[in-house]
């Protein structure tokens, strides 16, 4: 744990309706690190991730991001009419990425499904597309909401691989997970 934290949350508190999801939550995420959020359904893992991503405004506390972040949520962001190829090309343009799209498609194992519309892709293929989006441009912080959900054994291996590579290149990963996941040397946070 060298250098300043890529992500810091201090005294974070979020309410949903009348219910306090979490309060006085502090969190640091350092380069090369993986933090796994665990907790029962409804504990607030997704809300915490969305708060850290800047989507949800917390009632108390501050979050500081020391770098850009990638987001991978429950919804993969793929349109029903969009093919993985189109989806990645779109975000590559939006982000000014020069990455070779066919390369990314091959990395995430979607070469054959590259031109299949989102509505006919399986949940796992959509999740692979979303992982492909994270590879378009390097951003040090990855915020992943149940990244292993919907993936088959091969897909889980792929996701674990991408996460390991990202950490090795100085990035950090914060992910909500259930059960056994192939992420070694991870710090766990129980919500």
């Amino acid at each position: 744990m060298t250098g300043p934290a890529l992500l810091t949350a201090q005294n974070l508190g979020v309410m949903r309706g009348e219910r306090v999801l979490f309060r006085s939550l502090g969190l640091d995420l350092f380069s090369g690190e993986a933090v796994l959020l665990r907790g029962p359904n409804g504990a607030g893992k997704t809300t915490l991730l969305r708060t850290l991503a800047g989507l949800t405004a917390p009632e108390t506390g501050v979050r500081t991001l020391n770098g850009r972040h990638h987001w991978l949520g429950h919804a993969d962001g793929l349109k029903p009419h969009e093919t993985p190829q189109e989806h990645l090309a779109l975000w590559a343009t939006a982000w000014g990425s020069e990455t070779d799209i066919p390369d990314v498609l091959e990395t995430v194992g979607l070469t054959r499904a590259a031109n299949v519309a989102g509505r006919t892709l399986s949940a796992g293929q959509k999740r692979r597309t979303a992982f492909g989006r994270l590879l378009l441009i390097h951003r040090p912080i990855w915020l992943l909401d149940e990244p292993f959900a919907a993936l088959d054994a091969d897909g889980r291996g792929l996701a674990a691989d991408l996460i390991a590579k990202h950490r090795a290149s100085g990035g950090a990963v914060l992910a909500s997970v259930h059960g056994d996941v192939p992420v070694p040397d991870a710090r766990e946070v129980l919500l």
Binding site: A57, K79, H81
Partner: protein, 221 residues
Amino acid sequence: MTAPAPVRAAFKQALKEAWAGGAGALLPLGFFAGAAVLVPLTLGPNTATLSGTATAVLWIALALSSLVTMERLFQADLEDGALDLWVMDDAPVSQIAFAKTFAHWLVSGLPLVALAPLLGLILGVAPGELPRAAVAYGVGGLAFFFWGGFGASLAAGVRRGGLLIALIALPFYVPTAIFGALTLASPTGVPPEALMLAACTLFAIAIAPFAMAAALRLAVD
């Protein structure tokens, strides 16, 4: 002047999405034509009555047609997660909202403008009046679509929010409807009311994107 890359990407995505919806994009067109064609049947065959009310009828049909497919404008983005990505992007959300609304108008609103002269002809509007009327409908329709988009952004998280969108947007339609009708009621040329009509549209285009941005940030919260 070119828009930032994310805004252009959002615009292209919205255009493609509107077309990929198949007949969905043309639904307002059918609604517009249907409303206008039913009017002679209900008003009776008196040509004087028809041509006297034709431009007003088309304003009403245009206003209501603009609301027909508004519900999906931001709701689809909210459901498939694209809205999360756009809100987190560097580009201002207001510009993304502008791009999406403008794309929606190009696909669903512009065909209405193209169809308006034909419907006007059917209803007995003097042919010489038609070009002017088409321009007025084009200008007024833009305002309808931007206020409708504002309604759609506020109702993005509401299931079957069509009624809510209408309730939110229709009061904003009032100035455009008034000045639009007055513009076409005056005999010829560009009356002061036409400038007011244009001003209402410019106001909508200037203000609505910021209101949409605020509403969309709440929608993803």
